[in-house]
Amino acid sequence: MNGVHDMGGMDGFGKVEVEANEPPFHERWEGRVLAMQRALGYAGAWHIDDSRFAQEALPPQVYLAASYYWRWALGMQKNLIERGFVTADEIAAGHALRPAKPLPRKLTADVVPASMTRSSFFRQQQGPARFKPGDRVRTANIHPQTHTRLPRYARDKLGTVERIHGCHAYPDSVATDRGDDPQWLYTVVFDGREIWGADADPTLKISIDAFEPYLEPA
């Protein structure tokens, strides 16, 4: 969706402010939110793309005003309610009021160390890769209302395939509950001027990792 989360190239947000000696968490609740998100992901409540989409779908003014982990909390609550794991009256009561919806598994402390390694997004290929390194491609001009990982600034642009990363779960499909729909994934590199016009820094090259449906031969 064309949400405010898609920030590449926006102006006006100001300088990057660096905090010296930043702690992992500024408040205790931030760690709890992160841990709950991880535990629910492990349990199979939803996929990481569903978490992303829930945050993207927050009203823009809420998205921009919320701190990072608060945004996670809001997205998590949205998914919990929409997917039937928790009801609004339970949130209001602060306690469980009805039976749980079963989940495939539960994260326990003994498996936390093993769960710290990211799971793989490689999936069985459905056919040969359409592109190879060096191929010129044009990115799609798409504006779905749903989740996509093709940023606005990189749509309808000419680029060059640089790497193939194998066949991956396709976020645009996963986040609409249509399954993994595995797709080849490529690093596509663009000249800065193709993206930002003649005034762009001539030394700038930008790459995205693009799923095959985002690309057409050019």
Binding site: E17, A39, L74, E90, G94, T117, Y153, T203, I208
Partner: protein, 210 residues
């Protein structure tokens, strides 16, 4: 949590504790429903506070600086290469290491959310997840570098990698001059988090001595 307009960072005193109470209530509900185990949540928080951090990435970089066969393997398949190191925990699939050279400087961003190589760098800093960085890194990377006090030769190619998929990127910074013969352990002290994101350079021996 029902009031979506609250920003905890703009709250004060009792309102801040209200955020904590809301998160605690959510944890209570999820625990009572059997979805989460508080002991597992404790273990996750502890792991991110004490075990995972940029020391892991620095150890990978220091090895690459001292072992050219490892460096080649790292650039070819970083996940597989890290798995050969005994002193760094294995990482999941899709880690990609990109090398800075005198002609090219790499910088990592996630314009769409906050994708970051947690396993080798720990949790991302607030600035990495912030709108100023996410918006400007792809359009004005030299301006962003200036915010970090970094200035590169004007002919150096700047390559910005937008982490739009589940690939995760680690910058292999250039090895500082004057470090010939240094041990991996000593070299790792030169490798800052920011140098592995591309918003900084590795420290020089003189900077380390300060």
């Amino acid at each position: 949590m029902a009031d979506h307009d609250h920003d905890p960072h703009h709250e004060h005193g009792s309102e801040l504790s209200e955020t904590q109470l809301r998160v605690r209530a959510l944890e209570t509900i999820l625990t009572e429903k059997g979805y989460v185990d508080p002991a597992a949540l404790d273990a996750i928080v502890e792991a991110y506070e004490t075990k995972v951090g940029p020391r892991n990435g620095a150890a990978v970089v220091a090895r690459a600086w001292t072992d050219s066969a490892f460096k080649q393997a790292l650039l070819k398949d970083a996940t597989a290469a890290v798995a050969t190191l005994g002193h760094v925990s294995p990482v999941g699939d899709h880690l990609v290491a990109v090398e800075n050279t005198s002609g090219r400087h790499n910088m990592i961003v996630c314009t769409l959310c906050s994708c970051y190589p947690w396993e080798v760098l720990g949790l991302p800093p607030v600035w990495y997840k912030s709108a100023p960085y996410r918006s400007r890194a792809v359009k004005d990377p030299r301006g962003v570098l200036a915010d970090f006090g970094v200035s590169l030769p004007k002919e150096t190619e700047i390559r910005v990698w937008d982490s739009t998929a589940e690939t995760r990127f680690l910058v292999l910074p250039m090895r500082p001059a004057g470090t010939e013969g240094w041990s991996e352990e000593r070299l790792a002290d030169l490798v800052t988090r920011d140098s592995m994101i591309g918003t900084g350079l590795a420290r020089t021996p003189a900077e380390l001595a300060r």
